[in-house]
Symmetry: C2
Subunit: 337 residues, 2 copies
């Protein structure tokens, strides 16, 4: 009942250890007959190489880490699945690591992925505490790529989607529908993405000779925030004909608020969200929104990281374009000025 090791394979197949290792790694040339013997022995013994020994001997693990904070996000889900697949195609395995902000001892950043040399590289997925994390990675010289970085001038390799364009497109869509009284609920101001989307919103308006109706920042994303903001607007007699929400949750909240006061969407009010979370396509009316190119994000991140690991020096960050998804929550403006 002992564990079968490469030696058992050697014995059973009759060839030398090195030859076995060779067929294991598809390396060099091995006489076909020998290769078959080895393969057969491996099969008979149900042998699988010990990964620790492998890693030790070759100095790399074949593992890529991906650090994230939450499992409650459609976009993350999409990215991670793509990364998983791309990595697999390249012969790597993916291990996710949950980043829990350590409240106590800041010296105890035990998040294994970088604490030890367990991975060959890391993809950092939209971490709030990105700055410190990245600093550690640099110190430990672990190759990494950041998806959706929050720090602007990060000299690290990043994969991003152009939030400015996203805000611009969203707002242009509204303008093209004839809207002129366009409000914006934004998220927490300290997010780079939030500021960028707002900038896009402002640009689209000024390009059209319009000016922002009102911009409200919220403490957090989420339905409740959107609801509250919209309620406040109404209390102040603020009735836009269209709203650009910086997040689908906010958008849903806004819709609920206006609907609860008898407004019809999109007849009385157009609403556009951001991110295309699952529920966006499911609620009524289906939400018009801006979708992040999840597949591309994942693929680019993997490509960049692998090149980095292979020592390539000339790599450049990538900025992807978001996509407008028109559904049922936006419509032509019927209100005359």
């Amino acid at each position: 009942m002992k564990k079968v090791s490469i030696l058992d394979v050697v014995e059973k197949s009759g060839v030398s250890l090195v030859t076995v290792s060779r067929v294991l790694n598809n390396v060099g040339t091995v006489r076909e007959s020998n290769r078959q013997k080895v393969l057969q022995a491996i099969k008979d013994l149900d042998y699988r190489p010990n990964s620790a020994a492998r890693s030790l001997a070759r100095g790399s693990t074949g593992l890529i880490g991906l650090t994230l904070e939450t499992l409650k996000d459609t976009v993350f889900d999409g990215i991670v699945h793509t990364v998983n697949q791309s990595l697999e195609e390249s012969g790597y395995f993916l291990a996710l690591s949950i980043f829990s902000r350590t409240e106590g001892d800041p010296d105890q950043k035990t998040n294994f992925l970088f604490q030890e040399d367990r991975v060959d590289g890391i993809i950092v997925l939209s971490l709030l505490d990105e700055e410190n994390y990245v600093m550690e990675l640099k110190r430990k010289k672990i190759p990494f790529v950041i998806i959706d970085n929050h720090v602007a001038n990060s000299r690290a390799l990043t994969v991003n989607v152009d939030n400015y364009i996203g805000g611009l497109e969203a707002t242009k869509h509204l303008i093209e529908l004839g809207h002129t009284r366009i409000a914006h609920v934004s998220g927490p101001d300290h997010f780079l993405s939030v500021r960028e989307r707002k900038r896009g919103y402002e640009k689209a308006l000024s390009d059209a000779g319009l000016s922002p109706l009102i911009v409200t920042h919220t403490e957090s994303f989420g339905i409740r925030s959107g609801f509250d903001v919209a309620k406040t607007w109404m209390q102040n007699g603020m009735i836009p004909t269209a709203v650009f929400a910086g997040d689908d949750g906010l958008a849903l909240g806004v819709m609920e608020a206006y609907q609860s006061e008898g407004y019809k969407i999109p007849d009385d009010l157009s609403v556009i969200g951001y991110d295309d979370q699952v529920f966006a396509a499911e609620i009524h009316p289906r939400l018009t929104t801006i979708r992040q190119p999840m597949e591309q994000m994942g693929q680019h991140a993997v490509r960049l990281l692998l090149k980095l690991i292979q020592g390539s020096k000339r790599n450049t960050s990538v900025v992807l374009q978001p996509e407008l998804i028109v559904r049922e929550s936006t419509a032509i403006c019927l209100k005359k000025d």
Copy 2:
């Protein structure tokens, strides 16, 4: 610029390699002065032990894997965070692995967590293809625990929450509010949990001398399914005073459907969901629902798994109790019969 190894620490601290290893592992007794020397050297050198070498030498990795399929779930998120923390407290690290159903070659179940001996044990989180996965784990003799198993008679160790009780409590809540015309939208029938919840629903009704108004299974969970079911009910003149939905998404869909026809919730219709997803507490009205004890699930899973790894033989699966969360979507029945 070479990697610092334990030998560098030996040299710098002046003690033997073994002593260094001892302080590294807090093992045996080491003279305090020596311990300090070592610690200092480690610090000066910024030394971290090589995990591959460690794993190889001691035959275990200190890593626990958790396999799941999706990152779009509040409950999973809660469980995983708890598992992460519990594991950390026990000196283990957590690595998540995305399980993508391999469409092609079924022999190519490359999901690393069990493909190689990279982990000391595995937590399987609600896998659709549980059966095959578990079979592999058994064959490879990797210790594992399943959270939310879908196969009934699984002889494996499992951590579950009693879905029967959940359905029972949800329905009892409605009955206690005076409802008698209680409908049930259920999920896909092949889920064990779905069938259990329904069984609870039926039991609660029969205990109260009532009978099911209507039970409709859906092809999938989600808002859209709930919406469609409710619409169909209405078309058939089916007007319950309360609905027990097998899932928060379904519940939201039901609410939307009835609201769109002018019904007020909870005044004209009470709705209760299941799972307490994030949005449940955010939508309007806030959804009454059944919450899964995520923390307990995570903790028990970890406890069981670690005991299993330590060779303990007498372990038993655990069944946890769900919790009724009363919010705003359910109210006293005002309709006279």
